[in-house]
Symmetry: C2
Subunit: 403 residues, 2 copies
């Protein structure tokens, strides 16, 4: 099979860019948000529903699929697209992040990482070559280099060693490529150290890969540090290749980092928050379980065009969550993913029209302060949001980049 | 609002009948299987998906909706159809069965039943008039009389008292009707005593209700007793009115009781079994979790036209169940409901063509014995079925007629 991959920049507005990734499974307009389909399914959704809300590319997790059902099953089915009935583009991560964040008793050597499955304790050994081999069997459109993603609090000495290993491993991934393989992206690591980030970016750019990711961010650093690292790193990457900010993020993160030249995102936020009754609206987030919605017959977001908002009331959604119905997870996931994907479409439109800054300002005015009297905010359309709202789900046992 | 209700018999083949129920929410062809939407949602399904698989009428549970979200919320939304976005027909039960099977510390008097919610222990009092009032607020197309459904092992003396109370309560339900109310069906009780069944049927027929149900069956009696009660009771009911066998059943039950003149069915079987990985096929049931399906790229039932069988393999479904994905429940529910509803369509077609007996024989030959060499059974299309298969879900804490 000959694989198609190309990236074209179409518009710029400051450092914000609109581009088009051409794949064997369709055109992906960037900036793009990729829903997370960890176990070869975006939780609660069918592929047709993803297409309907405008999704063109999803992510799947190599670590999880290697453990369950095993890449040989997916390969026997004809690859991920066929196995899960998704005809859009797919990006697989390399398994690296989960090996460090989820697996048990891992041991890192120059050759690779030995670890135990978080499911059954079985022993596995990932090397750069093995990560490529597994991803090849899964058959995505884009695959990621096998990297090391150390904890943010690691010593500079350790971060430096890990960074150099990540560079050597990226080269081994590139050297392991065979004809017809998915397109390989590299991952820039380096913690919060600008020189390490620069060194990693420089070395990866030398490999002349078709795309580059920023890894190891939003793992505990504060927002300023996070944005500083993005601002520092994106200019070090070729402007004619897509830039992928892994595991990020929120509407606010998108606006701030698209502004800094990022093209691709994935995050469990909309799906996981949705399953936990937390809904995104133009006026901020709402916890739909709250008693105040018991008799509220308005849609979640009166301006939203999604299936959920077109057909169901807040009262019905609240009832479904209280009654613990599967349809609650479905309708909330549909709405949140639509909100994220629609936001990206609006961002692209703003960049095309050269009004990104204005769009960002107006969106955030309303999103962060629903009662500010911003241009589009009227009492009839504004969704309530509690200032003391806390997420109702517990992330402590979960990793941010897999579902 | 003027409510439409009419029933016409269209074909007969022996005692098996094809009919048409005309409601304000469309035509329902009988025999009909009604998916169970206990809490104003058929678990895991959207209304559009129900329509797509051919569902024309669903059931909702008065007891559950009274407790959560409360009939006043549903009424404020414009009734059940509007609240849950379902434009087909709806039948609500009276809450009777759940009050006896699910609620705590119930006390039955001539006036009604006092009970405590199984959710929070709150106290409630249902009378025949109150059951009508609640159902009126829910706004279905058909509502059920409030009955008493005693345990099958009750003494004859108690069953007789309960039976007479059920008759008096049915009259009180009829007397409580107001103009524009949903169509009221009566429920024939009487345990396994033919004389009590006859007495109840006779008294309810005197009320000249638009339809009649058989209640209190399949609660522990053996198959022969069950079928004998159906055979005994259906001839006592007017042939020009629909007959509804409550909480039943399996494909085998449908064939046996349609043959005895039953028109309407509801059961949690396809939905609940589906969520627990038990799938119905032309060649019997299969537990899709089994390891033998790990690499099985065939559809669940190669002859099935449902969304699941048209798009996914047994291997993928098995993976989704093992990985505990919501999509597993969706795809399995879709398949099982399609199988039940499609079976009813095939039964109606057989009755219309005057070949019901032949259809029943051929269906059961294959369904009960996949390796029998029956006309339509070939190795390529036959689904495996273990003889020692047990349901993987536990019904002990659940009632058979609500989800």
């Amino acid at each position: 099979m000959t694989r198609i991959f190309d990236f074209n920049l179409v518009h710029r507005d400051g450092d914000a860019r609109v581009g088009r990734i051409l794949t064997s499974h369709g055109v992906v307009e960037t900036p793009v948000f990729m829903p997370v389909g960890t176990q070869a399914t975006v939780k609660a959704m069918t592929p047709e529903e993803l297409t309907q809300i405008g999704s063109t590319m999803i992510l799947a997790n190599t670590y999880h699929l290697h453990l369950r059902p095993g890449e040989q099953v997916v390969h026997a089915a004809g690859g991920l697209h066929s196995f899960m009935n998704w005809n859009g583009a797919i990006l697989t991560d390399s398994g690296g992040f989960q090996v460090y964040s989820l697996a048990q008793t891992r041991k890192i050597t120059e050759d690779g990482v030995q670890f135990q499955s978080h499911i059954d304790g079985s022993r596995h050994f990932f090397t750069p070559e093995r990560a490529i081999e597994i991803q090849r069997a899964l058959g995505p459109d884009i695959m990621m280099a096998f990297d090391e993603c150390p904890p943010v609090e690691s010593s500079r000495e350790y971060l430096q060693q890990a960074n150099e290993r990540t560079i050597r491993w990226a080269r081994r991934c590139r050297d392991a490529l065979q004809e017809g393989d998915p397109t390989l992206f590299g991952i820039v690591q380096g913690g919060l150290h600008k020189d390490l980030r620069a060194k990693c970016a420089e070395a990866l750019v030398e490999l002349d890969l078709p795309g580059y990711a920023l890894g190891g961010l939003q793992l505990g650093e504060d927002k300023d540090q996070f944005l500083e690292m993005v601002s520092h790193t994106t200019p070090l990457l070729p402007s004619d290749k897509p830039r992928y900010l892994m595991g990020v993020g929120t509407p606010l993160d998108f606006l701030e980092t698209v502004e800094r030249g990022v093209d691709m995102f994935d995050c469990v936020m909309p799906t996981r928050a949705g399953r936990n009754a937390l809904l995104f609206t133009r006026c901020g987030r709402m916890n739909i379980r709250k008693a105040e919605f018991t008799n509220d017959m308005k849609p979640v977001d009166p301006e939203c065009g999604c299936y959920t908002c077109q057909n169901y009331s807040r009262a019905y959604l609240r009832h479904l969550f209280v009654a613990q119905e599967i349809l609650a997870a479905r309708l909330a996931t549909t709405h949140n993913l639509f909100f994220f994907i629609d936001l990206m479409a609006r961002i692209r439109e703003a960049i095309r029209s050269g009004v990104f800054q204005q769009f960002k300002r107006e969106f955030l005015t309303r999103y962060l302060n629903p009662n500010s009297g911003a241009p589009h905010t009227t009492p009839a359309t504004c969704c309530r949001r509690s200032r003391n709202e806390r997420p109702v789900f517990d992330l402590t046992n979960e990793t941010p980049s897999c579902e």
